[in-house]
Amino acid sequence: MDVKLINPFIDATMNVLETMASIKVRPGKPYLKKDQVAKGEVSGVIGLTGEVSGTLSVSFSETSILSLVSNMFGEEMKEIDEEIKDAVGEITNIISGHARKKLEESGRSLKAAIPTVITGKNHTITHITPYPVMAVEFSTDNGGFTIEVCFEE
């Protein structure tokens, strides 16, 4: 996998969350994921298809997603409920759309599938692939979250 492929996803994540939630998110350095432990308590996963197949997942800590969605709704959210899960699915969808637009500009056209949302403390996301999985941890003033991107090429 070309490591540069993760850059549109980093840009998309920052743009989407800062625009929708007015919260500053700070990306860490991208790294190759070696274990299978998700970094959060609620995750959105979306498949990408086209010239290459891939997956994007976004895993939020409880504090980070409650803070982000509270800002998006303009109302304080106190627990990971159906609306939070719904929001995680939509955030994943929008990040994917934004990144796909950037990838299209560099000549790669991809389509996205329907997002899936997984909840639970220390849940595991396993990308069933022999290809490397790139990950980036983001920090906010209210906890962190992680994106993972994998392309089969």
């Binding site: 709704f73 609306e83 929001a87 929008i94 759309g97 796909r100």
Partner: protein, 125 residues
């Protein structure tokens, strides 16, 4: 733009309907009804005359594009302003929506200012 105008918000994600209602409220619109996909939206339109439709593109059962085509082919709704909201701004999609008669489109993520600007263009203010 009449702040009392009736707006139909169509999105399968309740979170996005909530965000759209918040944003439209910030602009001054509070007369908002909702539908969670294109099929439900058509049912709502049978009983309600609306001044604007704000619809997501990707939805189960009936997409925003198919909703737009149906709205444009129906005598009672063919002139209703239609703002498409999409997570993608890929060229083929935009072209298809314009051909189908979309009034304007907006790419997620968006701010209240962006929505306000698009509505001003639709209503020529």
């Amino acid at each position: 733009m009449d702040p009392g105008m009736k707006i139909l918000v169509v999105d399968d994600f309740s979170a996005m309907r909530r965000i759209l209602k918040k944003v439209l409220g910030q602009i001054g619109f509070t007369n908002i009804i909702e539908a969670d996909d294109g099929t439900t939206a058509l049912d709502v339109l049978k009983d309600n005359k609306v001044d604007l439709i704000v619809s997501d593109w990707t939805m189960p059962k009936m997409s925003g594009l198919d909703l737009l085509k149906t709205v444009r082919s129906n005598e009672s709704t063919k002139d209703t302003p239609f703002l498409m909201v999409t997570a993608s701004s890929q060229k083929d999609d935009v072209f298809e929506a314009i051909q189908a008669g979309v009034s304007n489109y907006i790419v997620k993520p968006f701010t209240a200012d962006t929505v306000k600007e698009k509505l001003a263009r639709i209503f020529k203010e």
